[in-house]
Symmetry: C2
Subunit: 198 residues, 2 copies
DNA sequence: CGTTCAAGAAAGGAATCACTTTCTAACCAG
DNA sequence: CTGGTTAGAAAGTGATTCCTTTCTTGAACG
């Protein structure tokens, strides 16, 4: 009778384990409530801890949100495919990026423009560069260079706009729809738009 | 001595004139401060009026923001060009859209995702449809149909993805950079990407 | 085992901000 | 000119929320 069945052994988290839980809670709050409605208390409650724990790590709400965005980005790395053909690599990479980044751009962009870090002296462009990780989709250069070496494309003769095209369109669709692209759309981008241009 | 020189005749605005000024102030505040940092007072001060005037028109902050977004969208209509060639029409339309909508998509999307209307029962998709005006870029069908009639393209044989391509890319760049596209970029989209595909 | 550190609970201070209320006077219709 | 409407000024209320402080106790480390 001393320990209730409804009280499931209060474990106490530490270090990386705790920090990941805090940042994940922050991200979930961002997705569900949005930046404006995210409060330190709501994050603490979701993470089953108290606000003091948050303030021990981040000086204010903006810092916490920024860290949560970066954590979410880094927790879902996009794998580098190697299928042997440019078409296969592109389909695989775009699919992986689409799934890993679904929602990320929109939430991050929304937070960046809805007031995040306005008074830290960062320009909107700086905030955006930071949350976007200053990279667009990783590994793009790699798969193009491999295709160049195999003789599939001639990097000297293909305009940069063409090389960016598939990734720009995937990013665009992610921003518009907030969910991963349908496989048919990815195939359309590769087969109807990109490949005819190279 | 009764009327100071520093007090430049207090005129009192009414009706449409006043309402436009209020909504313009709301939009400017949205751009500069973002949704989270926009306050009814900041809008009132910017419009040189008082909060009561705002509340006489809109029941709450969300309604004001929504009206400001719609006002901004409707106040900058994109003109329908008619240059005689598909290439000319596209360049003109993309340039006009780029300038009219610079910033609009990003600000509107950010407001939509940063908490706007979360508790009115609208889904994010509904909010987005409303602020985007349920249209992407107007006039697109028109210029394509004219080109079809002139025999420049065959609408039966061109995939829809190709027709959307220029507008998707312009929207993408606007979301990323928040400013009108450089003319060279627009020419690149038309000449290096779109025209080779049709 | 004993020491140290931080997790977690709780309560509250201070500031912000959505929204209201009241009042005066400028504008408009007749 | 007269009366009704509403712009605009000013002050205030109540709720929210950022952030701090204090205290107890579970966990890590030697």
């Amino acid at each position: 009778m001393a320990t209730e069945a409804s009280e499931p052994v209060r474990r106490r988290r530490h270090g990386k384990e705790l920090e990941s839980a805090l940042l994940a809670a922050g991200w979930d709050e961002l997705v569900e409530a949005g930046y404006a409605r995210l409060t330190m208390e709501s994050v603490a409650v979701r993470a089953r801890t108290s606000e003091a724990v948050l303030y021990r790590r981040w000086a204010n709400k903006d810092q916490l949100v920024l860290a949560a965005i970066e954590h979410q980005r880094d927790a879902n790395p996009v794998a580098l495919p190697d299928t042997g053909t440019l078409r296969g690599d592109l389909l695989a990479l775009l699919t992986a990026a689409s799934e890993a980044l679904a929602g990320f751009f929109a939430i991050a962009a929304a937070a960046a423009f809805s007031g995040l870090l306005v008074d830290t002296g960062m320009t909107p462009a700086q905030v955006r560069a930071r949350v976007m990780g200053d990279q667009r989709v990783p590994h793009t250069r790699t798969i193009y260079q491999r295709a160049h070496r195999r003789g599939e494309i001639d990097l000297e003769r293909v305009p940069a706009a063409v090389l960016d095209l598939p990734f720009d369109l995937v990013r665009h669709d992610l921003l518009m729809d907030l969910e991963p692209l349908k496989p048919a759309r990815i195939r359309s981008i590769v087969d109807e738009l990109f490949l005819p241009l190279v």
